[in-house]
């Protein structure tokens, strides 16, 4: 059992093999988590300070925060349970060992509990502590925080286990239907953008118009207090842990226990089903007739298949390309509002064209960061590198087609974004034209550098991304600093933009010449994985 739990731990948190990378990844995760917890604690204590004198308000806000944590933990439980119960590689590995299904399921449940408890505790503990301090019962809430995650697990994991199989099934289905998967990813990203825009509107209002107090009017607080009664079963838990009504524990256990038993039953049944499922071979209904394509078209089709039929690419690149115009519009509009109002106005007035320079900077960053989702030109070939080398097609043609497709898609998305920003009046004509030209120059430079890095992958080591990272972060930052300095010195905005383009061409053109001359050698030295 312990070995199975350790195996699941490695499966879930294995990550990169390289010790340095693992440490860096751990550090980043730690920082992200720390930031989230710090933000949560700061927000919660700030709200408690403001609404502390309203009757029942602190408890209602505590329940609201616990609800958010619970929702987050439930979603997280669904994905963790999917990885634990329906990982094909894991199922295949375990199938050859004499381990009963009951032991496998039990070990996975124990692991799910441990991970869930630890994560939930990290978020809940600061809330309990802050609430305890406010109520003058620090010690009591300190101890209660130890038990709350365990109690909440029953309900959250129960819901997670109910939805884990439908999620797995839907993802499997989407994997087989590329267009549908793409459409779903776009809808999801649009929904996220909408939620983001709503949060952004509130944030902009708070920052630009100092509207914080309007969020906590007597009416809104009364609505939140009233809302608490509908938050089943978190309100039962709140009665037990915050209200001190221990009798409600039975009610909670009846509800949450029922959900957990249902979830467990569904998972046990579906785990057996998936485990025994042979590879589902369902031939398509119609045979097709081979229509010979030209070599170029065949290579383009292959590259498009590699990009679009890979789920990671669909969500991290193709989907983001579609929502890039909307995201850029939301962010730039919000930023412009902030920089054009309140106390910011004084600082920005020191730099003529400050807003335009920042806007172009944001477009550059977005373009290059989204593009980085599709710059694994060679790595994505994996074992098929040998195919590249043995097919009777010149290496330049193959490589430039690999480069051309993401560049074209990113350029189209960039063009749409700039048109949207111009049409909506966020950008002037000059800003729109130069935002496109500078971002395009950066995109080309970045993609060429990435291609050079990809062609130099050796000994199956991960690609060195130093230069491309520098291109994606340092070049825009240098552009920003120099532009602001020149703007402060009174230079014309068009001259600044032209200087920016020349600066990028000065980096991009020499790199292209070097890359083009060494491409043949680098290509032949690529190692085919056997």
């Amino acid at each position: 059992m312990l070995n199975l739990i350790i195996k699941d731990f490695k499966l879930m948190f294995g990550g990169p093999k390289n010790a340095g990378k693992r440490l860096l990844s751990l550090l980043l995760k730690f920082l992200l988590l720390g930031g989230l917890i710090a933000a949560e604690t700061f927000l919660f204590t700030a709200i408690l300070d403001k609404i502390g004198h309203y009757k029942n308000a602190p408890r209602a806000f505590m329940v609201l925060f616990l609800l958010v944590v619970s929702a987050f933990m439930t979603v997280s439980a669904v994905f963790q349970a999917k990885k634990l119960f329906f990982d094909e590689g894991d199922i295949r590995q375990l199938a050859t060992h004499p381990i009963s299904n009951a032991t496998q399921i039990l070990s996975k449940l124990v692991f799910l509990f441990l991970v869930h408890f630890a994560s939930s505790f990290l978020f809940v503990y600061p809330l309990f502590l802050a609430y305890g301090i406010m109520m003058g019962k620090t010690m009591m809430f300190y101890y209660l925080a130890l038990f709350y995650p365990a109690a909440a697990f029953i309900f959250e994991a129960g819901i997670g286990l109910i939805f884990v199989y439908p999620l797995w099934y839907v993802l499997q289905y989407l994997k087989k239907h590329v267009l549908l998967e793409f459409a779903v990813s776009v809808v999801l990203l649009f929904l996220l953008s909408w939620v983001y825009s709503e949060v952004l509107t509130i944030f902009v209002g708070v920052v630009a118009n100092n509207e914080l107090m309007t969020l906590f009017s007597a009416e809104s607080i009364a609505a939140i207090v009233d809302f608490e009664q509908y938050v089943v079963p978190i309100n039962f838990l709140a009665d037990v842990f915050i209200g001190g009504k221990r009798s409600m524990l039975m009610t909670y256990l009846a509800v949450a226990g029922g959900v957990f038993v249902l979830g467990l039953t569904v998972t046990i049944f579906t785990f057996h089903r998936v485990k025994n499922m042979s590879v589902d071979i369902k031939p398509a209904a119609n045979k097709r007739v081979h229509k010979p394509l030209s070599v170029t078209l065949a290579l383009v089709k292959k590259e498009l298949s590699l990009i679009t039929r890979n789920s990671d690419y669909v969500y991290s690149y193709s989907g983001l390309l579609v929502v890039q115009p909307l995201l850029l519009y939301l962010i730039i509009m919000a930023m412009n509002t902030i920089f054009s109002t309140g106390s910011f106005l004084y600082y920005t007035s020191l730099f003529p064209n400050f807003v335009s320079i920042i806007d172009v900077f944001v477009v550059m960053m977005f373009t290059v960061i989204i593009s980085s989702g599709a710059n694994q030109y060679i790595s994505m070939e994996e074992k098929t590198i040998k195919n590249l080398k043995t097919m009777p097609v010149g290496f330049r043609k193959q490589i430039y087609i690999k480069l051309l497709i993401p560049v074209t898609l990113s350029t189209l998305s960039l063009l749409c974004s700039v048109i949207v920003l111009r049409a909506s009046g966020v950008f002037s004509d000059v800003t729109a034209v130069f935002a496109f030209l500078i971002s395009e120059a950066l995109l080309l430079t970045f993609d060429l550098i990435s291609l050079g890095e990809e062609l130099q992958i050796r000994h199956q080591r991960p690609r060195s991304t130093f230069l491309s990272s520098a291109a994606s972060y340092i070049i825009p930052a240098v552009y920003l600093v120099i532009s602001l300095f020149l703007s402060y010195s009174g230079f014309d905005i068009s001259a600044l933009y032209i200087a920016g383009i020349l600066f990028l061409l000065l980096i991009g053109i020499p790199y292209f010449l070097v890359l083009n001359s060494k491409m043949g050698k680098w290509f032949l030295d690529l190692e085919a994985i056997n």
């Binding site: 590879v279 589902d280 071979i281 369902k282 031939p283 398509a284 045979k287 097709r288 007739v289 081979h290 229509k291 010979p292 394509l293 030209s294 070599v295 078209l297 065949a298 290579l299 089709k301 292959k302 298949s305 590699l306 039929r309 890979n310 074992k383 098929t384 040998k386 195919n387 080398k389 043995t390 097919m391 009777p392 097609v393 010149g394 050698k521 032949l524 030295d525 085919a528 994985i529 056997n530």
Partner: protein, 271 residues
């Protein structure tokens, strides 16, 4: 009725009477289809090939043997244009692989020891891709595809599924089909029997023989010395970066039986 049914079963491996007469000539009277001269290849400071010389002729089934890490796959990789080499010359179907790589690549079909098809494509998509790259006409594609599927007992319907669902053996069969779609003059196979079931191995042996009999060249490496001894016309054993032994098994039939012992003795002496 599917569109394939318009095509009769066509055997690209069949031998005509005129061809049989041409094949009666011994290898040395023919021109080499693969010619390796003074091949040197190093990995860093480690010199793997030290002036390897080899001629492989049309109409012969040639076995290339050697223990692990001795340079068999490196030699093949240099021949197929997958690796650079420091010194020497390689001609494939008369084309220098460094100066005319595209023409050379059109003349051979290659099967790697590990099947390397695209997981995101269906088997059929992969073969269509290969057909487009080799500029194979629709008629030739359908004929060869249907014939090779039949020979290798690969269900055409299964080719409509993504290759990620295939077993290792199925992927290997798919790669064997892909390597022959364009009827190459030279068929290069690096450990082709790995993962294939016994029926497929037997069929592959027959196909290789027929392919060579058809006037083409079959160049094979395998750890299965019995297989090589049984089917090959000539074999070479590579050692210390050069060809150490070269036998014509048709002229010296007793070598077929002795081959495993010769192989063992050679490397035993090397320690």
């Amino acid at each position: 009725m599917s569109s394939y049914d318009n095509y009769e079963l066509y055997n690209p491996l069949a031998v005509s009477t005129e061809e049989e007469a041409a094949l009666a000539a011994t290898p040395r009277e023919k021109s080499p289809t693969v010619s390796i001269k003074n091949l040197h290849k190093a990995y860093g400071k480690k010199q793997v090939l030290k002036g390897l010389e080899l001629d492989v002729y049309e109409g012969e089934l040639f076995g290339f043997l050697g223990r692990n890490g001795i340079g068999k796959s490196t030699t093949i990789d240099c021949v197929i244009g997958a690796k650079r080499f420091e010194k020497g010359k390689i001609l494939v179907d008369g084309y220098d692989v460094t100066t005319h790589p595209i023409e050379a690549k059109f003349s051979f079909g290659y099967v790697a020891s590990e099947p390397n098809c695209y997981d995101v494509m269906t088997g059929y998509d992969y073969l269509e891709f290969i057909a487009s790259i080799y500029k194979i006409s629709e008629g030739d594609f359908v004929r060869n595809f249907k014939y090779l599927c039949t020979r290798l007992a690969l269900d055409e319907k299964e080719l409509l599924n993504p290759t990620s669902n295939y077993s290792h053996g199925m992927k290997q069969k798919l790669c064997l089909i892909a390597s022959l779609l364009h009827n190459p003059k030279i068929w290069i196979l690096d450990e082709p029997t790995v993962g294939l079931d016994i029926m497929a191995v037997e069929e592959l042996k027959k196909m290789m023989r027929e392919y060579a009999n058809h006037g083409n060249t079959v160049f094979i490496t395998s750890h299965n010395i019995e297989l090589v001894a049984k089917i090959c016309d000539r074999v070479a054993i590579v050692n210390d970066g050069k060809i150490e032994k070269l036998y014509d098994l048709n002229r010296e039939p007793n070598r077929r039986i002795q081959l495993p012992k010769i192989f063992m003795d050679l490397y035993k002496t090397e320690g």
